[in-house]
Amino acid sequence: MLIPTSETDAAYIVRDALSQGKRLAACGGGTRAGFGNGVEAAELFSSRGLSGIVDYDPAEMVMTARAGTPLAEIEAALAQNRQMLAFEPMDHRGIMGVRAVPAGEPTIGGVFAANVSGPRRFVAGAARDSLLGVRFVNGRGEVIKAGGRVMKNVTGLDLVKLLAGSFGTLGFLTEVTFKVLPVPQAVETLVISGLSDEAAAKAMATALSLPVEVSGAAHLPYTVRHCFIDGRLPEGEATVLRLEGLAPSVEVRAGKLAAVMEAFGPVSRLAGEDSRILWQEIRDVVPYADGTQKPLWRVSVAPSAGHQLVAALRLEAGIDAFYDWQGGLIWMRMEAEPEAELLRRYIRALGGGHATLVRASDPVRAQTAAFEPQPDAVALLSARVKQKLDPAGIFSPGRMVDR
């Protein structure tokens, strides 16, 4: 494993690899190493040697950190100032199980490279929406800066967005600058019990159409409900809605929301700590942190299509699923085969979206495209973009393209 300790070092490694025709597989702590398609014959190239917060002015709500800085360190620094990452990056170690490199720690660079976002994503944006600027080494071994450290910046092409979620295939991140938000003073969760997936979709859509600023909307069917907060959720399926903000405001909004939600089913409330733990567990997909290698899909569709997709698939395959993002994000565990064809056919039929295989056994991974195959014109364009950043194709070749 190559572990540069400075940006210059990283650039040198890339140029060296380039001259020797070597291929590099960028990573941070390696906790998401199982992502994507397999990369052949590449040396691991980790940012963990580039660590430390470079600049953090809480008053400006902006932080700059080296890419390999452990997420825990960042979150601790933020917590000291009652601030947080708005996009709630999930910790993949639970679901990846044995795959996680035992010593590895999630890094901030890894979070952005994989565009990892949690429950608040559907209202507050993804990791990419918080990312203001990056420094990276491109495939020529040049250090490139994109974006900056101010909230609003439209100077030039937005390479920042491109790098976010590129899984290290376009460049090696060395530094990231991102915005942060104050931690909400209070949090409360409303639980509506006993709803079918379809009814839950309606309830969540209704909740999101109300002026109560719901910041989390998930539906936990009966197969997974018991996995959360040590089974303390009320009996039956749980449709959970999160409210955050100033305490008096949350109280008022919760009342309003509950009044409307009662038409759908019995409403109970979850306060303080339980509420926080619940959303962290939803974020980290605890029901499928099951120590298995059963294929696990992360499916993104229009919120109203989520339950239809699950219902259709249930008729043809053994699956278990729960919903986040108002029903638009489905975590789907296949009991046997990955059923990629079937899943992707239904996604297309229901208006489009994408399915990413985040976990599977090696043989399954070898046969299944991890990312949603793109239409030819888009795939071609993506390949051209990759070629412009990494002309020799040294960064994780094959990771994001369908083989």
Partner: protein
């Protein structure tokens, strides 16, 4: 007309074939969708960055994506530059044509194609104006968040081109944070769909790349945007201060206290007077600087938030605090603010800067800005989005005086360099366009720029799309 910024030399190969090109375009478009008479072309020669003007070869006003694709495919085949245009409200010259270009103006594509409340999304043709989205869904309790001051007129296609912001971005983000998908026509006429009602990209975030690409990667003909439930209540409150420093420091402290109002807008004395003259919104005229702070939510929430803000403002010697009493009053307050640039036309010509600086540097940059403008013998009015550090100094001058015009441009350049030196950027929401193109080197190294240009070329290898913009003309690959 100003001359400092150069355009690409028109291609003789295009100019000499003018008649044939127009005849060909006439085959691709219905007669009312093509402008080619010299008289009719003149009004398309500029946008809201009026110091620079170039009469285009022709103007295409397509009604459909198919027509857009046909025009692009044709232009690509014959190496004819294309300048996309929405409502022509760009303050950075993003839609200014060039003599050898076909302007592709999407102002006839104004249909709202679908409103989908269950998925909180609306799909629109690119020529739909920003405000009309909120107007269409407002009755059902929703709105579209980004609200550039020109929202009455500017189109969603143009917003995507510039990744437009607005006053309320402090809470809701800019265009890129509210854009779910686009239908994009590539220069070769290929039509692709990026994104949709689902979130995040399946592969590379091309949608994020296209947003803010100033019409250089393709032409957006349709967009799917995120709708948000309207808050229960909104309350803009006016805070008047003696000095700009006090107002600036107050902004910094509000944010530092972890309070994020929906908007914090700043006006200096000159701007207050200009806006009040137009909108009669009741801005206090006896103060040196004014903050419009808008909070939203339930009564309880607004009260709580306002109490904290009033307390902070008190520490900075706030002189007047005025809460508005009715929706009409609130609307007037915003009308005045959003008309600020145009209203400036009552007293002078102006150019509007758009640099963004870190909040801590706000007061310093404000002071330096005044010094710079005064050193050129000109006046400045400041009206901007203070909450995110996005400044809009308006440099006032007389366009009929060539020396003043040149000085205004020079002062503007100095201010933008200052913003970059202060750790900010050249443009927060108006785009680089033609205006800031030659200043790009102050913000980016040659390698940074080269990388951007290469990515650009992945979409438009021959540099036909809006080619005079964004990237300095020298040093292009």
């Amino acid at each position: 007309m100003s001359q400092a910024i150069e355009f690409l030399v028109p291609r003789e190969s295009v100019l000499s074939r003018r008649a044939a090109i127009i005849a060909d375009l006439a085959d691709l478009l219905p007669p009312e969708c093509l402008v080619h008479e010299p008289r009719g072309l003149a009004p398309f020669e500029t946008d809201a960055f009026i110091s620079y003007r170039r009469v285009p070869l022709a103007v295409a006003l397509p009604r459909t994506t198919t027509q857009v694709a046909a025009v692009l495919k044709y232009c690509n085949r014959y190496d004819i530059p294309v300048v996309p245009r929405g409502a022509g409200t760009s303050l950075s010259g993003g839609a200014i044509p060039q003599e050898d270009a076909v302007v592709l103006c999407l102002s006839k594509m104004t249909r709202i194609l679908e409103v989908d409340y269950a998925n909180r999304a609306a799909t629109l043709q690119a020529g739909v104006t920003n405000l009309s989205i909120s107007e269409a869904v407002g009755i059902d309790g929703f709105f579209y968040a980004p609200d550039p001051s020109s929202q009455l007129a500017c189109t969603i296609g143009g917003n995507i081109g510039m990744n437009s912001g607005g006053a309320h971005c402090l809470k809701y983000g800019v265009t890129t944070n509210n854009l779910l998908g686009v239908k994009l026509v590539l220069i070769d006429g290929t039509v692709i769909d990026l994104g949709g009602k689902h979130l995040d990209a399946a592969g590379y975030d091309l949608l994020g790349l296209v947003c803010g690409s100033e019409g250089q990667l393709g032409v957006v003909t349709e967009a799917t945007v995120r709708l948000i439930a309207k808050p229960e209540g909104v309350r803009p409150v006016l805070f008047g201060f003696e000095t700009c420093e006090e107002a600036g420091a107050c902004v910094t402290d509000i944010i530092a206290a972890g309070i994020i109002p929906v908007a914090i807008e700043f006006m200096d004395k000159a701007a207050i007077e200009i806006c009040e003259a137009f909108a009669k919104a009741g801005y206090p005229l006896d103060v040196g600087a004014l903050l419009i702070v808008e909070v939203e939510g339930s009564e309880a929430e607004m009260d709580a938030m306002l109490a904290s803000i009033v307390e902070i403002a008190g520490r900075h010697g706030v002189k007047t605090v005025r809460q508005c009493q009715s929706a009409t009053e609130a609307a007037l307050i915003w009308k005045g603010r959003k008309s600020a640039f145009g209203a400036t036309g009552r007293i002078a010509d102006y150019i509007c800067m758009d640099g963004t600086v870190p909040l801590g540097k706000l007061s310093y940059v404000l002071n330096r800005t005044s010094e710079i403008v005064e050193s050129f013998g000109l006046r400045v009015a400041n009206v901007f989005h203070a909450g995110d550090g996005n400044m809009h100094p308006l440099i006032l001058f007389n366009a009929n005086d060539p020396i003043e015009a040149a000085n205004a441009e020079a002062a503007g350049n100095e201010i933008l360099k200052l913003c970059v030196e202060a750790g900010g950027c050249l443009t927060g929401e108006h785009g680089v366009g033609i205006e800031k193109r030659d200043l790009m080197r102050y913000q980016y190294s040659q390698a940074d720029l080269a990388q951007q240009m290469e990515v650009r070329a992945a979409f438009d290898e021959k540099w036909l799309l809006n080619p005079s913009k964004v990237f300095p003309l020298d040093g292009r690959a």
